[in-house]
């Protein structure tokens, strides 16, 4: 632009670039680099092992297989069931039935409070002795169904999954905002053509909000790829490895086993999966204009 502005431009960029270098670039380089090393604290060592960490991870480590499978299943559920629950509500609310604003706000509440709090609430709901779930089952005369929901290997996975699947307020808000911005004329035209409510919703409105659905799906996939707090605070990945995922395994490998090279190999897998899902969803729903 103007030559004399070069100094200002550099000054304006400097803090952000520095922040990027220290907290993103450097850790990324360390992650990629140390994934090729047997690098750990006890015993303290750093030996180059090539792709051995990756080979061990994919061919020998059954905990990793389980973590990866859980992670993928959760991503699939989160990008389908979870989004669908929110999208259905958005398709109801955009017609502005009585109380639609209140419903939107209330359904958002669980998405606004911290995951740590949600996890604590559900740890109590599922608690075998005073939790509301077992208490309810006793109340309706089904005491045989009582369980230790989070720590029984038969129910731990589904119990943890429910904690995040049902609360789709964020997606409702996003999809609703796009549905509300649609031109009324489109719907009027559909009515004239004789489309009924359901047909209107599915063949006219749904395709028009597809770009926002694609966005929510990408966010859901990256969110679930990084899911840590809700699992850590309820089951810590257990019992056994039944509810473990990649971030939990990374955390355990790095922070309790101090096996840094191996932990960062898991980190590389997470990064690659992130890129993969972003590309996949964009391809499938080829609707993002930008």
């Amino acid at each position: 632009m103007r030559r004399r502005n070069a100094g200002w431009i550099a000054l304006f960029l400097l803090p952000t670039v520095a922040l990027f270098l220290v907290i993103y670039a450097l850790p990324l380089v360390i992650t990629l680099f140390t994934s090729l090393y047997d690098y750990r604290l006890f015993p303290n060592r750093m030996d180059f092992v090539g792709l051995q960490n990756y080979i061990n991870l994919f061919t020998k480590d059954s905990q990793f297989h389980r973590a990866l499978a859980n992670n993928l299943i959760w991503i699939v559920i989160h990008t389908t069931v979870h989004i669908a629950l929110g999208a259905i509500l958005a398709l109801i609310l955009y017609k502005k039935p009585r109380g639609w604003k209140a419903v939107r706000v209330i359904y958002m509440i669980p998405s606004i409070i911290s995951n740590a709090a949600v996890a604590m609430i559900f740890a109590n709901i599922y608690n075998p002795s005073y939790g509301v779930l077992n208490s309810f089952l006793r109340g309706v005369g089904l005491p045989a169904l009582q369980r230790n929901w989070l720590y029984d290997p038969a129910t731990s996975f589904i119990s943890v999954t429910l904690i995040w699947t049902l609360f789709s307020g964020y997606n409702t808000t996003l999809i609703l905002s796009q549905a509300l911005s649609l031109d009324d004329g489109v719907l009027e035209a559909a009515k004239v053509d004789g489309a009924n409510r359901l047909q209107q919703d599915f063949f006219i409105v749904l395709p028009l909000v597809k770009p926002m659905i694609a966005t929510t799906m990408i966010m859901a996939a990256t969110y679930m790829l990084q899911m840590f707090d809700l699992i850590y605070l309820t089951t810590r990945g257990g019992p056994g490895v039944s509810t473990t995922n990649l971030p939990l395994m990374l955390y355990k490998t790095a922070m309790t086993e101090n096996n840094y090279g191996y932990a960062n190999t898991i980190g590389v897998v997470i990064i690659l999966l992130g890129v993969f899902f972003m590309t996949l969803i964009n391809r499938l729903l080829k609707t993002r204009e930008d």
Partner: protein, 290 residues
């Protein structure tokens, strides 16, 4: 009353004029969403007013009286106010610094030309595709070698970075949308680069700044994973992290446990209720721009 109803009908545009049985599924679904969102929180609040014995004997019974004993005990056992204060400090400072420095960079990317701009932006944009959870171990390493582990500045630095991609995108789009003529007029009047930015551009970018700040604050306020990885001592513990200690701290004092959870979630819900329009709008802007 009647006047109010009429006004509501006019503005609410009740488009669905079908008989009740046709609207029933939609009404039920809305009701279900409201119940799913409210029940867990209401159950926790309700339980915080019950005695231990009442909680254990029946989880779904209503409290017999309103007693704040649980709250008194909770504050005695756990310095929740201290953790609350830590969270406020960390979220406010990291949000302010994030928006302050990243806006400067965003302005340069939106409004100036210099060699390597495209390349530099693509490199910074990498931060958007890297799940930071994958970099847990090296981020810990970097923060430790900066001497910032187990400290508020360490967490602030990481939260600034965590919110960098979103703020950068929102602010770049905001500045790009400001009419070129405003800036040119300022330059013709002889304003400097810094003056133009501070006095001409920032004031018209208020909307974007607010959205970026709301999102950065929410993310920092609710963050758990890095708070767990980067801190140890109670002096720097954040509110979400403190929740993970509640179960052991309140071992068998369930009343206090529920009171503590209530205190941890109520501020978020109140703030959201007050600013829900702004928060929802920010979420939409963040999703569209990011």
């Amino acid at each position: 009353m009647t006047q109010k109803t009429i006004a509501k009908r006019e503005t609410g545009e009740l488009r669905d004029r079908r008989p009740l049985y046709a609207r029933l599924p939609a009404c039920l679904y809305m009701l279900l969403c409201v119940l799913v969102a409210l029940f867990p929180i209401l159950w926790v609040i309700m339980s915080s007013f019950k005695t231990n014995a009442q909680i254990l004997s029946s989880a779904i019974s209503l409290p017999t009286g309103i007693s704040f004993e649980g709250y008194r005990m909770a504050l005695e056992v756990s310095p929740i106010l201290r953790y609350f204060f830590n969270s406020v400090v960390i979220a406010l400072i990291s949000t302010f610094l994030n928006v302050f420095i990243v806006s400067m960079a965003a302005y340069v990317f939106a409004r100036t030309r210099f060699r390597g701009k495209g390349l530099l932006f693509s490199v910074l944009a990498m931060s958007m595709v890297i799940p930071m959870t994958a970099l847990m171990q090296p981020v810990y390493q970097v923060i430790t070698s900066l001497g910032l582990s187990d400290s508020l500045p360490g967490l602030i630095l990481v939260y600034m970075a965590l919110n960098m991609p979103l703020t950068l995108l929102i602010m770049r789009a905001t500045f790009a949308g400001v009419p070129q003529s405003l800036e040119e007029a300022a330059y013709i009047d002889g304003a400097s680069f810094l003056y133009t930015y501070l006095r001409v551009m920032l004031p018209v970018a208020k909307g974007g700044l607010a959205s970026a700040a709301v999102l950065a604050f929410l993310n920092a306020w609710n963050e758990f994973t890095f708070a767990l990885v980067l801190t140890r001592s109670a002096a720097v513990r954040t509110l979400p992290l403190s929740l993970s200690y509640f179960t052991s701290q309140f071992s068998f004092n369930y009343t206090a446990l529920f009171a503590a959870i209530t205190m941890a979630v109520l501020p978020s819900i109140l703030v959201f209720a007050l600013f829900q329009e702004q928060v929802s709008q920010s979420l939409v802007i963040g999703a569209v721009k990011g």
